[in-house]
Symmetry: C2
Subunit: 335 residues, 2 copies
């Protein structure tokens, strides 16, 4: 789901993204001189910028002008996202991200924990540059919720007792929350009435849930060059996501124990076998249906906005883009 | 520097501390249900509460009433402090704090990184409950500065190239900053004119620097039962603080290489020898003089407040309490 994929819509946001990049680059100078190089390393403007796009599309209405407060809100959510990536890479022991060494690889665990903290702190500092506390209040709650989701996921690793409700809750917190607040902030800045702010935020939340399920599906059905990472890492690291959950359900009790042993790290994962079994069990179709359900909820939420205009229509089109991506994974199912 | 030591002054803050404890305990319910037990574990009201005391003494003026906004500000700085302790214990591999397992020991590294993040996020959320962005702005800058100081310290471990200016900068950021902002917030809430807010904040900063130098001195000259931790851990972990810095300066070049090898972890530290050498070189007196210099600066800053009143006078007395603690270390010098 790189920029390229969003091509058409992101192209229309070129001026906004340029302003965002400039603001993010300017933030480096706000860090203490001794950690500026490290902040510069982490404030990477080559990311997908999905969350900033949500802020912009939710908030720009028909105005061709790049509003400074929208750009600032976009920078806040992107900085929170960057901070969480720095900490994620520590947990995952990730060495490479976006074709270069992760912060944890470059600076070590201790410094990276603190560097992520500094990014979070600065995100909130930027949020405090709005005239009212609304943005700080919204973003700090979201940050806490993202952490709660990540904690739940961390503590669930290697356990086979995770149920569907827990999976849903984890992705709602760890991923959908930041999508949701991005849309909420955009809608708030644009001055939509409260009911429409809620509808736009709800769109973001359902899109975020769909996006995370897609990401979890791509871990099994993607191609490595397309998704840019190794396949099957979730099984390898004992992370039970929806495809694995459905596979487990489909296996006869006699075969389930072996899969559970792989999840618990007691046996090496048999990725090829598991992919084959997923195909037999129709896991792709079941997961795709779940994504479709979320995208339908997303679009239903947006449909309640009386006069969406061009910008919210483009926001709605992100659902179609994601739907297309899901379809492309179907072709990659092992035969 | 436990509560007991501050006995007299803290006794006068009993109603404030009680309100603080209640507010901190109430915060547990604000966390997502799934991480509430973990938040409860970390929101430990048995700490020294030095930073809340600074907020209260800087801000209560003559009022016998416990002002809700002072209590909230105190809770914000204490939550930031608690978050940083959770992350500190990860870096230090600390197993025990305040007579029980650290969060990293109880929940593992990954969950503790996220738990510290959640505490920071919630601290900022509480800060966003003030009617204006001032508290969020001040606290988020302080948090970033604390992280910058900790990063500098982390990257300096095991290196012998640290100079005095770098040591001063590290403690100013990692410790004095939170003391400073505690006093600043108290003074701001109390409505002192800007010049007096600055003076009170400056008091906090110098007290914080003095406190950190004292803490570093106690690592060599304390008694284990008094300071509640193992002595000599700084040498063990390659952390160059003022006592070690002065010792290194005092050694002839021929002996310096051996000490540097201990700092770099290439040789086991010879703590008994180093303590003996510190005594011979008069390290205690030199470090005590540095503390005295900071305490004098602290008191000079406070003296510029035209009408300090009883509360600011008590704030000033914290310097005397710290001075007495430093004197007690003198008795512990190895003979």
């Amino acid at each position: 789901m790189a920029n390229l994929i969003f091509g058409g819509i992101f192209g229309q946001l070129a001026a906004h993204m340029k302003a965002l990049d400039a603001l993010l680059r300017a933030q480096v100078q706000e860090f203490e001189p001794e950690i500026r190089d490290m902040a510069d390393y982490c404030i990477d403007t080559s990311g997908k910028r999905i969350r900033p796009a949500l802020v912009f599309l939710s908030g720009r209405k028909a105005s061709p002008k790049v509003a400074a407060d929208l750009v600032r809100a976009a920078a806040v959510v992107e900085l929170v996202h960057m901070g969480s990536l720095v900490h994620d890479d520590i947990m995952d022991g990730a060495i490479v991200r976006r074709n270069r060494a992760t912060a944890v690889k470059a600076y070590g665990t201790a410094a990276s924990v603190l560097l992520g903290d500094a990014l979070f702190a600065h995100a909130l500092n930027l949020a405090a540059q709005f005239p009212t506390v609304e943005v700080c209040a919204a973003v700090s709650v979201s940050m806490r919720r993202v952490c709660a989701g990540e904690i739940m996921q961390t503590l669930s690793r290697g356990t086979t007792t995770i149920d569907r409700a827990r999976y849903d809750r984890i992705i709602d917190l760890k991923t959908a929350e930041l999508f949701r607040v991005s849309c909420e902030l955009g809608a708030k800045i644009a001055g939509y009435p409260q009911a429409e702010q809620d509808a736009i935020a709800s769109y973001g939340r359902h899109l975020g849930i769909a996006y995370q399920i897609y990401d979890d599906l791509a871990d099994y059905f993607g191609t490595e060059d397309r998704i840019g990472k190794t396949l099957g890492t979730d099984l390898q690291s004992g992370k039970v996501t929806l495809p694995l959950f459905f596979l487990e359900e489909s296996l006869p009790a006699s075969e389930r124990a072996e899969l559970q042993a792989e999840i618990q790290g007691q046996r090496p994962p048999q990725l090829t076998l598991r992919l084959q079994q997923m195909r037999t069990a129709g896991v792709y179709a079941r997961v795709a249906a779940e994504i479709e359900r979320e995208l339908a909820s997303a679009q239903a939420a947006l449909a309640s906005v009386a006069d969406p205009g061009k910008s919210l229509s483009q926001l709605g089109e992100l659902s179609d883009v994601l739907r297309d991506q899901v379809k492309k994974l179907q072709a990659n199912q092992p035969s």
